[in-house]
């Protein structure tokens, strides 16, 4: 699109045609809605202000806070001092930061990619042929787990995993097992899979529905097994959807805070994924300056994922 419009404009240069009626008319062409510069600006300004106030300003403010020793309370709350890049240097040399990054990585791979995506696809694939009743039932269950507030789900899971009178211990006969302490990372991964699978399932359901039935039919005619069908027909058709789910789910999981409701980041720091680390540091310990620096690092990581996503999306559209 941009390319065509530039070529349109090229001959309009303020050269020989200046003054004649035609070029004047052409010059107003970009203003297809006929609003004029002032009114067009008036329409755009509210959106720009919102973006400025809620996106750009906070980001810049975080950047500023990140170079101070600002704290929630105490002298450093009233008069924060400039500390340069100390917070960032601390972060990159701090074991707690690095191991939190590693934990976040494990959490994202485990709960988002292996968990939500694989489970979401499996449900979508299995449910595609089952009768409406079963399908509606299963989908409703998965959706409920998704739409319930995380605090409610967390409460259910606390009851499920409780050490003394938990449902899971009763079912498995493993009385006294403190799941949240002995298998903390596994617990929050399972919790997040439970909580977030619906999105993948929904997206994969509609993706599967978009596969031309003739291709599936052909696969069946030539006697392709399930695996071959998936590999040669289904995956090539929904590659774009897989990518979308992958990136969105990764991004969300990277930012998810709900596991804090289960474990509070503990025991020790064993479930201190990145958002939890920032919360604990900024609000529980009150180190807002360092928290801001860590947040900025998180924003940068998010941006990288987002850029990859936008680029992939653009390539898909062009092809």
């Amino acid at each position: 699109m941009p390319r065509t419009s530039t070529t349109d404009h090229e001959p309009l240069g303020p050269g020989e045609n200046a003054g004649s009626q035609r070029p004047e008319k052409r010059r107003t062409d970009p203003d297809a809605a006929g609003l004029g510069r002032a009114r067009a600006t008036a329409f755009v300004v509210p959106a720009l202000v919102l973006i400025g106030v809620f996106l750009i300003f906070p980001a810049l403010w975080t950047l500023y806070l990140g170079v101070t020793n600002w704290r929630l309370t105490g002298l450093a709350a009233a008069e924060p001092e400039f500390v340069g890049l100390d917070n960032y240097i601390d972060a990159l040399t701090d074991d707690r930061f690095l191991s939190s990054l590693y934990r976040t990585f494990v959490f994202v791979i485990g709960s988002a990619i292996l968990g939500q995506m694989v489970l979401g696809f499996t449900i979508a694939w299995v449910m595609r042929r089952t009768n409406k009743l079963v399908r509606g039932f299963v989908e409703t269950l998965v959706l409920i787990a998704w739409i319930l507030p995380a605090s409610v789900i967390a409460w259910l899971w606390l009851v499920l995993l409780d050490r003394r009178s938990g449902t899971l211990n009763a079912l498995l006969g493993t009385e006294g097992t403190a799941w949240l302490l002995e298998y903390p990372m596994q617990s929050i991964i399972a919790f997040n899979i439970f909580n977030g699978t619906a999105f993948s399932m929904l997206l994969f359901s509609s993706a599967l529905a978009s596969i031309p039935p003739s291709q599936m039919e052909t696969a069946r005619m030539v006697g392709a097994g399930t695996w071959a069908t998936l590999r040669d027909v289904v995956f090539p058709n929904i590659r774009g959807h897989i990518l979308t789910v992958l990136l969105l789910v990764t991004l969300w999981t990277f930012n998810v805070f709900a596991p804090f409701l289960l474990t509070g980041g503990g025991p020790g720091q064993q479930t201190e994924i990145f958002p939890v680390l920032i919360y604990r540091m900024a609000l529980q310990t009150g180190e807002l300056g360092r928290g801001a620096a860590f947040s900025l690092i998180m924003i940068v990581i998010n941006l990288v994922i987002a850029l990859v996503y936008l680029r992939v999306l653009r390539e898909r559209r062009q092809s």
């Binding site: 906070p58 969105l248 801001a292 947040s295």
Partner: protein
Amino acid sequence: MKTHTKRGRLAAALLAPALVLAACGGDDADPEPDEPDNGEAAPDDEDDPEPGDDVAPVAITLAENAIRGGKNTEAAEWIEDWAIPEFESMMADEGFDITVTFEGSGADDEDYKTTIALDLSTGGGPDVIGGFDGIWVGEFAQANYIQPLDDIYPESSNWDGWDQIPDAVQQNMSFNDQRYGIPGGTDGRVIYFNKELFADAGLPEDWQPTSWEEILDAARALKQLDGVVPIQLNGGVSMGEATTMQGFLPLMAGTGAAVYSEDSGLWQGGSGEVEQVLEFYAAVYGDEELGDPLLQQEAAGRDNSFLMFSEGEIGMLIEGDYLWRAVINPGSDLAPMENRDEVIGWAKIPAREPGAGIDGQDFVSMSGGGGRVLNPNTESPEVAWRLMEFLDSPEALLARHADDPRITSRTDVNEQIIDDEMISFIAEEVLPITFYRPGLEEYPQVSIALQEATEAVVTGTSPEDAAGQYQSTLEGIVGAENIND
């Protein structure tokens, strides 16, 4: 269209972390320059109260870390059912139309503190803030979140209640010798024990250990009983200040050291006494398993320890009189014990060995206390102060504590209400041997470092390594030059 929604979600995901911090960073909470005006405008009303419609209605809010049916339910019930109606009608008699809204909360103390710090940092918050721990006064004052009562409402210094509150107790809510709030009372720490379990283990009913070793001996005897955790000694970060106050600091006082020495102005370093305390933790949570290490790490570990103690699953528990008053009392909603008075005994916390405590004491304790502060951002300082004053009037304290005694800040009230055996014990036996935490802004961070050190030991780190780790954390907080070695 699809792309738009996706981008929207993307933007939302990106925004979240930035917003959280920006929300916190929006305001440096400089006190309003015109603050004194508020104070001057209000007294006029008092001078000529005009009953009737001429007086504009005033609405104020009162916050406490108490909530009906949950944490500190007795306090919440008293406020909602007695104090607010009484105050409103008292003010109505004077011709004022006052509405008081109660903002209850049932959060952990640390989370409650974060909430009010954020409220105050944005220039908002409830007019009267209760549940305010005395050790927060320094850091809040230095952040300009709270101000001396004299600055917010100068008349407050004329209150007759001050004469009834001992200076040491007033000190709890003071900073740099200025009063920031009205203290609510004080407390003390003891070792509670379950007499039935003690009898089963062949231990005396009037047990009083004189050294740490005797505590461990009793624990070893209790260990023989089935399904009983011999001792609960708070450790770890998730117990929060309860670890420091009920665990580390009383033990440390029993080694002869204080976390901070007023005389030298130095903090206690990682070697020596700190290591001795950590060795005691190791003795409890190590190979002998006299305590339950997992309980220290659970997110709701403290509440669970209360429940287990009330159900006879824990033999000994080091706690403050809060446990007696508000947790295992028969009317409690947390862990009520119908037979509390018959089953639960208490003993003073011994020094490591006789005479090893601070000042050569044989027994030690730690005390603290909170109170209520007046929010400098309030629009009606006079009304807010009147409410604070009313809540600490003898009348109000008697209504609150007649059936639920505690050591209040007022001597005139204490004389009337303390007839409970346990509370008298605290007042007579424990307060004379007790110690207080330093009211310095570094203290809360040092406290967390101590909690981390205990957590390390509870989860298997050697006391020596944990002490070394504490030393280096402490250096980061107060600077190496401020540590004694």
